[in-house]
Symmetry: C2
Subunit: 210 residues, 2 copies
Amino acid sequence: MAQSNARSAQASKILETSPLDPAEARWIRLGKITYTDPLGVKRVWETAERQTRPKNSTIDGVGIIAILDTAQGPEILLQKQFRPPINKVSIEVPAGLIDEGETPEQCAVRELKEETGYVGAVEKTSTVMFHDPGLTNANSSLVHIRIDMSLPENQSPVPELEENEFIECFTVPLATLYEETKRLEQEGFGIDARVGTLAEAIELGKKYSF
Amino acid sequence: MAQSNARSAQASKILETSPLDPAEARWIRLGKITYTDPLGVKRVWETAERQTRPKNSTIDGVGIIAILDTAQGPEILLQKQFRPPINKVSIEVPAGLIDEGETPEQCAVRELKEETGYVGAVEKTSTVMFHDPGLTNANSSLVHIRIDMSLPENQSPVPELEENEFIECFTVPLATLYEETKRLEQEGFGIDARVGTLAEAIELGKKYSF
């Protein structure tokens, strides 16, 4: 299965990158943390944070693990999306930021519907995962969603993208995710750490036959 | 196996967090990216970047997958380290930033020796993985390192930590990494995305028996 968005993710182009004045920043802020180390020595650490995390939430967003059971075996639902910070089209799991008052599970079901058109049911939620804890508090949980392919609404799923979203959905057999990410990287795509780490761990699982 | 650092990672304490003046920032910078979307519409995106990436390098650092083969089965080498941005002790794979002129593989062997005391040999390197491509260009590769436990230098490995590093090493059976990360989260540790995603994918591998 592969669904393609007519508005391709691949035609974006960076014109200019310039320093960002914190007074102008709407999405990210820099912070200076003063702390004591285990010996009682006072130290300073720099951090970057999303400004979008809802009050009362301890997490920024979710990633979605959606496995489609096909006649050929399980396939994982992935996306291509241009990401300005890396100046590449990124290969990611469907994902999104949590809205005020939303649980991770509600966010995952909503984002899956918006970004891929699929209607799914939550199976389980991972630990909260910190994306780069030496740099930022940015984090997310992976929410596993079951997509019942026999449902009428999942026959021809239509994404409901916002006017500034350009996302292409596709699927990859889990068993060959590793080879596929290596191939996509060679073609110039950026591999998101969650996708790349999934691929690495599936190979470890094969090696050790758990 | 568990080796403990006398200087515990768990006694750090944040005293204050304040806005960081970009003129003062030494490790991170904010950027404003102007780009055109696939429809040709001009848009702006904010980004945070590490200032530490060497010129001529396209990646910031490495994570290290080191599996110790024990009589009880394969165990993954992990670390506990206080991370100011998340105000938690984080559960991570050994990792580090690339020095000028260093390959990811050289960096991985060096950092493993420094942080854990183990001497290892590189087996393979993953794709470059982007940690949070909507927020930052921060990235790394996972380098798989084989540790020969029969070598004399690996009998009683001694880390060579810098005076501002407080790292505890421990190992977890790969087969129960999922349960262990859930337990560590309950105890208040922060789970790094690479560790958490490895755990999730090993469970997927078990489910689908690749």
